[in-house]
């Protein structure tokens, strides 16, 4: 199988690296002297790439002009490599863009047009402009990308033949030299005998043109996903409410989902960091009911807890980290199942995020002979084996109500009993009680007990 590469170019990479909200900002990036990229709002003001810096500032005094930041561009490309990794197992950061090996991806995604559609639609969904071209070598893909065309393998040769020498990334002196020799297009060049071509150009330029023709390929350094997830998004204008933050958070959780899926891992613990304009950081840790992979499972509880993070200062950057991961447990796929476990876990996560950890409990039976200790409501269900017991009420009264020295005087008629519980000598809460089932004047069945030390009666619960 012959290699196939896709070269991805992001025309607004320098802008996006500075802040993800560049599309709604009048901003341009310069290299010290000239404008290299301008946002749509800046373009509407007549700013265009190639314009001098002074001219741009004169033309649009309110223009936000920033120098390009190669380090931030590199970080963004690294984030984009994560995204591209779902389409190919071999992704490289090269030539201010990404290079993907797609020959093997055809088995998973279908023919090249389908891979093209998958990549472009995914980029479009993320609101990120992207250009793409295929080639047998990354250099061949570069040439097509430069011309703004995206041929398929059966037309690679034809398109190459029509490519002018000027389109190649070789120095102007060598272009001139080849032109003087009568080579106007790559077809002219490749028709010349191999030894003649080698003689007329230095080794590097010769090898580059051989790579363009698909005859030689330079080695690539493939991207390796890091062992932990740590990505962030920055903004030009500070975000002042939860609604504005929702979109970047969704983008980060989607990337976290892709990262987890690739590893067949899940996490129950994610950590957000919100960087404020005043320099403070606000961390927000989300603990889920069970390890999850889906972005939705992360975003729902995060959004509910987010209100606490907005203080006096707007948020200028959001960072998402995943430091604990566990192996994904395959889901039960039962045809007759009315719901999935994930439905319940996601519901519990949402409720916990809004109501607090303590708000959701389950009635549990603990192995203890004292009824008030045996029946507790706990956050994590547990159940001890139940011995044969006398009837127990449906409801327990958390703090028993005093009935005085005689239940009859309080209107409680004794019916069944006594159930003597004398225990708890091993801790500081020894119990010595006689429990009775009794009937109130209004025919309500109550569970009462007599404290045998103090000879007082107490209401402990109600039978429904």
């Amino acid at each position: 199988m012959r290699c196939l590469y896709a070269q991805l170019h992001f025309p607004e990479l320098a802008l996006e690296a500075l802040g993800s909200d560049y599309q709604i900002t009048k901003i341009a990036v310069h290299d010290g002297q000239k404008i290299i990229q301008a946002s749509e709002q800046a373009l509407n003001d007549g700013i265009f790439p190639g314009m001098t810096l002074n001219m741009a500032i004169t033309l649009s005094p309110l223009l936000n002009v920033r120098p390009q930041q190669p380090k931030k561009q590199e970080q963004l490309l690294y984030r984009l490599a994560h995204w591209a990794y779902q389409y190919s197992h071999q992704v490289a950061i090269r030539n201010h863009g990404l290079c993907l090996e797609v020959a093997k991806s055809e088995q998973l995604f279908g023919a090249l047009p389908e891979i093209y559609n998958a990549l472009t639609q995914s980029a479009k969904k993320a609101g990120r402009p992207m250009q793409l071209a295929f080639g047998h070598t990354p250099e061949m893909a570069d040439i097509f990308l430069k011309q703004g065309i995206c041929p398929l393998p059966n037309t690679f040769q034809k398109c190459l033949e029509h490519t002018t020498i000027e389109a190649c990334e070789i120095s102007q002196a060598h272009i001139q030299r080849l032109n003087n020799m009568g080579f106007r297009t790559l077809k002219d060049y490749f028709e010349a005998p191999g030894r003649a071509r080698q003689k007329r150009l230095p080794r590097i330029e010769y090898q580059y043109l051989e790579a363009v023709s698909g005859q030689h390929s330079s080695p690539l350094k493939w991207f390796e996903p890091p062992p932990l997830f740590d990505q962030s998004i920055e903004f030009f204008k500070g975000l002042e409410n939860e609604k504005m933050l929702r979109l970047p958070m969704e983008r980060l959780t989607q990337e976290a989902e892709n990262w987890l899926r690739k590893r067949q891992m899940a996490t129950s613990n994610i950590l957000w960091d919100f960087k404020m304009e005043n320099g403070h950081d606000t961390p927000l840790r989300i603990r889920l009911n069970q390890p999850e992979t889906h972005a939705q499972a992360f975003i729902d509880p995060s959004s509910l807890k987010l209100a606490h993070c907005f203080g006096v200062s707007p948020i200028i950057a959001v960072r998402l980290r995943i430091q604990e991961i566990v192996q994904t447990i395959p889901k039960r796929n039962d045809l007759f199942l009315k719901y999935h476990d994930s439905d319940r876990h996601q519901l519990i996560d949402r409720l916990k995020a809004r109501l607090g950890e303590q708000a959701i409990t389950t009635p549990c039976r603990i192995a203890d002979p004292r009824p008030e200790k045996a029946n507790q409501c706990l956050r994590k269900p547990q159940s001890a084996k139940m011995p044969i017991l006398s009837p127990r009420p449906i409801w327990l009264i958390k703090t028993p109500l005093a009935l005085g020295s005689s239940p009859e005087k309080s209107g409680y008629q004794l019916l069944q009993g006594p159930e003597r519980i004398e225990t708890g000598w091993w801790d500081s809460e020894p119990t010595c009680r006689s429990y009775w089932i009794s009937l109130t004047r209004s025919d309500r069945v109550a569970w009462i007990y007599q404290d045998l030390h103090h000879k007082t009666w107490w209401l402990a619960g109600w039978f429904a």
């Binding site: 009315k338 719901y339 999935h340 476990d341 439905d343 319940r344 519901l347 949402r350 409720l351 809004r354 109501l355 303590q358 708000a359 959701i360 409990t361 389950t362 009635p363 549990c364 039976r365 009824p371 045996a374 029946n375 507790q376 409501c377 269900p381 159940s383 139940m386 017991l389 006398s390 009837p391 127990r392 009420p393 449906i394 409801w395 327990l396 009264i397 958390k398 008629q413 004794l414 019916l415 069944q416 009993g417 006594p418 159930e419 089932i437 009937l439 209004s442 025919d443 309500r444 069945v445 619960g461 109600w462 039978f463 429904a464």
Partner: protein, 227 residues
Amino acid sequence: MKAISLQSLIDDGRLWKGGSSPEIAIKSSGFQALDQSLAGGGWPAHMLIEILTSSPEELPMQCILKTWQLQQDERWYVLVNPPYQPCAEGLIQANLKPEQIDLIRANPKDTSWCLEQMAGSPAIASILAWGIEKIRTPQLRRLQLACQQARTQLFLIRPLNARANASPAPLRAQLHKIDSGFTIEIFKQPAANAHPIIEIKNDLEWLLKPAPAMRKIVTQSIHKRLQ
């Protein structure tokens, strides 16, 4: 005068013809007399049911416990803001699975949101909710829609004065305490007319058969009351 067709409302399930048999999923209430009065023969399985009572800490659980005992649903059951703490041993003896029951304590501000989340979750079978003093009609409508979409049953316990206000809940009933048990009046239900008030007696016969280790103290007068 322009004639307006009601067919679209009937098709949407927002309007019922009185006396027709509705095609709704039901779950038996566990009381024969009550089942006969309920359209379809039981509590609607996927609807908002309003229970109005002046004894919220006593009657709703007496009324609902049997329907929960009869349901063989693998989904979860929820108690929202119950008046007391549920007793796991008592629930096991009543043939319920405590590990399948969630207990939720929500403050009044969050209760409506919390109910909507649960009513809209396919993982929940039935909810019994206290602590709703004031709720607006659009919120009730949202709860009803959530119940229909996720096939959830929601019993909402409300005070008696709520009866004076219209409600989008398809089924509304009033519970009243009497000496021998309670009465239930179903004053609104889908596809059925009003029924007379039903009297449900407390099942106290089990008290006459004490557990092996227990002594029975039942006087003649009590015996009469229990029977």
